[in-house]
């Protein structure tokens, strides 16, 4: 536990000092909203279109973060030190996943209000508590699977190519569930009820991939 805390502190301090991942992710998300405005040729979106725009943007922005997750460690040789340290390898995964979760939360603190300001139609309903629940569950899934993908791709020659190739199909269930759950919240005639079924799918995904990643992550670091 203390190992996780120390590693997490290191991750967050690194991010606070370099400002590498979070600003890139947030900027990317805002630019993507602008791109969507011109590509869809619509001033406002609502319903399933709004939820699709939001989730595609968040997914691609999180891919950027996934790409950077292990880069500093492998490039500057910190990984060797971490592997030599007498700690459980799983602690490394947990710390990385929590750090990634923090990055995602920071991204959404900027991206979701920006989405409300820039694109969401005035007639579209909004239900903040429901949206927060969906975001929290989806973040857990993205962090669990994304950290595993980052670990898989980081030692390869074509890391930047492999992360989206592996990550996008793997995260499709999250996108299906999250966008299905968000669509009624953004419905044109005011927010409709939150479909609990999709929250259950998100929770199941988080559980399966969380446990799976804990089980297999050790093998990525055995050197």
């Amino acid at each position: 536990m203390s190992a996780v805390k120390a590693l997490l502190r290191k991750e967050l301090r690194l991010e606070l000092r370099t400002f590498e991942a979070i600003p890139a992710m947030t900027l990317f998300s805002i630019i993507t909203f602008v791109v969507f405005h011109f590509a869809l040729q619509q001033d406002t979106v609502e319903g399933s279109l709004a939820s699709g725009v939001l989730w595609v943007t968040l997914l691609f922005a999180s891919m950027l973060g996934t790409n950077r997750l292990f880069v500093a460690d492998t490039e500057d040789g910190a990984m060797d030190g971490l592997l030599l340290a007498p700690i459980d390898r799983t602690a490394l995964y947990v710390a990385k996943a929590i750090a990634f979760l923090t990055f995602l939360t920071a991204l959404e603190i900027v991206a979701v209000p920006a989405f409300y300001l820039l694109l969401l139609g005035p007639a579209a309903g909004d239900a903040i508590p429901g949206l927060l629940a969906i975001l929290a569950l989806a973040n857990l899934g993205i962090a669990a699977a994304g950290t595993l993908v980052a670990g898989l791709a980081t030692q390869t020659r074509s890391r930047d190519l492999l992360v989206p190739l592996l990550g996008l199909p793997l995260l499709l269930p999250v996108i299906i569930a999250a966008s299905k759950a968000t669509a009624p919240l953004f419905a044109a005639g005011g927010a409709e009820a939150l479909p609990g079924r999709w929250l259950a799918v998100l929770g199941l995904y988080d559980l399966v991939f969380g446990l799976l990643a804990l089980a297999v992550f050790d093998f990525l670091l055995e050197d």
Binding site: L152, Q155, R157, R159, L166, L172, K180, F209, V216, F219
Partner: protein, 236 residues
């Protein structure tokens, strides 16, 4: 030495597959709605089932590889996934042809099984690029196994999510196999057996070829010659 029993297996496969197609065409009744086009069902569905089982098999071998550290399990996992991918191309092609004939479109988004299969196929397409991108053979084997296990767990989860997403899918033209009339069901089961045998034969063939090549390499090395290994993502 490696290919023992391969010839009888291949012959049995040919016989069963031919028998299955004969049953499908001459024994099973014509579908009332779709007529002759429905016969593609006897190729498409068994192929899809066998291909998905092959992915699961790859995950099982991968678990064994990580548990025992025996590289032969990695080779088995690789071959299983490789063959499933090849069958997967067949599934998508026959599925498109069937969809075009039955519904008028090459691809239909409200058919959950087809969509799930496409997603699974796209994920497994990354298996070989991932292997190619890692130089060290030991690490390559471990990473590939981790990928195979992750993707194996992803398959049922993905099917669940996609199926739930299409709750208003149009009525299934062909339900599950127990809803089939008995004659069609027999033809279907024989086709499934034939396809499974085909998979096994191809699997044994590739394993034999790989093992023989490894043996030749090691013999050559012992003779002191230079061995030029091809650039391949396959385990060595």
């Amino acid at each position: 030495m490696y290919g023992k029993g391969l010839r009888p297996l291949a012959i049995v496969t040919c016989v069963v597959l031919t028998g299955a197609f004969a049953l499908a065409f001459f024994y099973a009744p014509m579908d009332a709605d779709q007529g002759l086009m429905q016969k593609i069902f006897y190729v498409h569905v068994p192929m899809a089932i066998v291909s998905l089982l092959g992915f699961v098999l790859g995950a099982v071998f991968a678990i064994q590889h990580l548990r025992t550290g025996d590289r032969r399990h990695d080779l088995r996992s690789y071959v299983a996934i490789h063959l499933s991918l090849i069958l997967g191309v067949g599934v998508l092609v026959t599925g498109s042809i069937w969809a075009r004939a039955a519904w008028g479109h090459w691809f239909v988004w409200d058919e959950p099984t087809l969509v799930s299969f496409l997603i699974v196929f796209l994920l497994y397409c990354c298996y070989q690029p991932l292997r190619f991108a890692i130089e060290d053979p030991d690490r390559q084997a471990r990473y590939a196994s981790v990928f195979a296990i992750t993707a194996g767990a992803f398959v049922p989860l993905n099917f669940l999510a996609v199926r739930l997403a299409q709750q208003y899918a149009h009525p299934r033209v062909l339900g599950s196999s127990d809803a089939l009339p008995p004659k069609m069901r027999l033809a279907f089961l024989v086709s499934l057996l034939g396809m499974a045998l085909l998979y096994t034969t191809l699997y044994r063939f590739e394993m034999t070829a790989k093992n023989t090549r490894l043996r030749v390499h090691s013999l050559k090395r012992r003779l002191g010659g230079d061995v030029v290994l091809g650039r391949s993502a396959a385990p060595r």
